[in-house]
Structures are given as C-alpha cells and as structure tokens.
Amino acid sequence: MKIGVVTFPGSLDDVDAQRAVRLAGGEPVALWHGDHDLLGVDAVILPGGFSYGDYLRCGAIARFAPVMTEVVAAAQGGMPVLGICNGFQILCESHLLPGALIRNNHRTFVCRDQVLQVENASTAWTTAYTAGQQITVPLKNGEGGFVADTETLDRLEGEGQVVVRYVGQDPNGSLRAIAGITNERGNVVGLMPHPEHAIEDLTGPGTDGLGFFTSAVQALMSV
C-alpha cells in the first residue's frame, strides 16, 4: 500500500509521517509540491510544518501548489487524504474540509502531550480506534484554533464529521473543542495534533497515534 507524503517548502514533519507509514506496514512515497504527479499512490498525507513560511495565511499559498490540483481531484474521487497540523490548514484552505484555523486565543505557541477523544471511528484514517476511545498524542501549533460559522459547526456535529475532540482544557480556543474533522464521505481527515509523533515509545508519549496510519493501510488492503 503506497501512501504519499507531500513535501512543501517549509514542511517539517514529512519524514516523521513517512516513518509512521512504514511502521504501520505501508510503503511511504515522497511527493514533491511542484510536481503534477501522485506517482500512483493509494493515499496522501499532507504533513505538518510551515508551508511557504505561512505567509499570507497558513496553507493559503500551499493550496495553489501544482501537486494540490492532483490531491484535490483524487480526494474528490474518494482517495484517503490526511492533513496533520499545517496539512489540516491546507485542506481547509483548499475547501476539501470546511472551516478555518486561526491564531490560538492565548496568542502563544502550545506544545504538549494532548489527550483526545475519538468521536468518529469510521473514517478512512480512524477505523483502528473505537468511538469514545481516549488517546494521547503531541500537539504543537501557534495557529490551531478551529473556527466555522454556527451552521457549519452544527452540521459537522450532526453528521458525525467531528473526528477527534480535545479532552480537558481547550489548548487553542478551537470552537466546541474540535481537534479534527472529516468530509461527508469520510476519506479526507484533518487534525491539528500530531499522531505521527506518537508511534514509538522511544520518541513520543506512546503509540496511540499509530492507529491513524494502520487504519489507512488496512482500509486500502481491503479494497
């Protein structure tokens, strides 16, 4: 199962995401932002970082990178796409997911191990979990406040499109403590916390994040 990881100028966690794919039993494929080519991958991850220096707005310029034309088309065709942190911001700017991410309400960068509750365990990226399960993965962002209008928030909650929610104190002012969402089809998922940093006991708070990657690998194998 080939899972592509896009490297933009300023991507930070692309190699970590590739490693997570490998540990989950998949084959990571490095994709380049400037190419109009997904190299035949079965799924795509947009990793964390600071694409194009986060100039203008986070993810706003990355959205127009050549590879995103292919990613948007593939996502609309049902390909699993996961956006982590900056990748989540890019997915929102690309209109593959609703809402937007704004600067944290306390205006400081937050970096800590974060407890999350899995709300939707039926997306392409979360079948390894059970609904209601609590997991701990690192969170690190300066612009992680998820916002959308009330109607959109109601729809996300009503349709089960909230994938993960913050447990305890909301770390960045996200409305309704939303940490991650999915599209209607369940193939596109974006979240601010970093599951790729919780895949080995040696380098993270545990292995709770690995499920995002094993979910996709297993979903692709069963197709």
């Binding site: 203008l56 707005r57 706003a60 310029i61 127009f64 929102c92 700017e93 609703p98 809402g99 937007a100 704004i102 600067r103 944290n104 309400n105 306390h106 205006r107 406040g145 916002v147 959308a148 209008d149 002012g173």
Partner: protein, 80 residues
C-alpha cells in the same frame, strides 16, 4: 500607474487575537479611549489600467487568495 487597494479584515464574529494583543497593550502605554482593536491586512496592487475587467479580476483574486471568506471580509477600491 493606477493602484488598487484591497483591505482584508477578520469577520466581526471571528476572534482576532492580534487585535486583542494590541488592545491589551494600550492601557499599559497610557491610552484609555480605545474600546476595541481589530487588525487586518492591506494589499496594494499596481495595475496597467483600473478598468472593469481588471477590477473584476482583482475581486476574484481578493476572494480566493488574498482573503479566506470563511474568516475574513475584503473591500476593493481604486486609488488614483
């Protein structure tokens, strides 16, 4: 050459942490008359001619790249 100015502001209902930070600093500097601050962005676009076609293009540009309509409003005006 004419210049088109695009002002981008966070929507009123969207939290503006930067504006809040500025507002919070005012009393420390002795300014007490200001009750709220919101911070936006101003883009100055130089164009060959500020005709209708160009203005239409700028409106499109302002709504797709310069602003995110989910969280921001924009206004376009021509500066002589």
């Amino acid at each position: 050459m004419p210049r088109i100015v695009v002002d981008v502001m966070p929507k009123p209902e969207i939290l503006d942490p930067q504006g809040k930070a500025v507002h919070g600093a005012l009393p420390r500097l002795g300014f007490h008359a200001v009750t709220d601050v919101r911070q936006g962005k101003r883009f100055e676009l130089e164009v060959e001619a500020a005709d209708d076609a160009t203005l239409a293009e700028v409106h499109e540009l302002a709504g797709t790249l310069l602003s995110n309509p989910v969280i921001e409003d924009y206004a376009v005006r021509v500066e002589a």
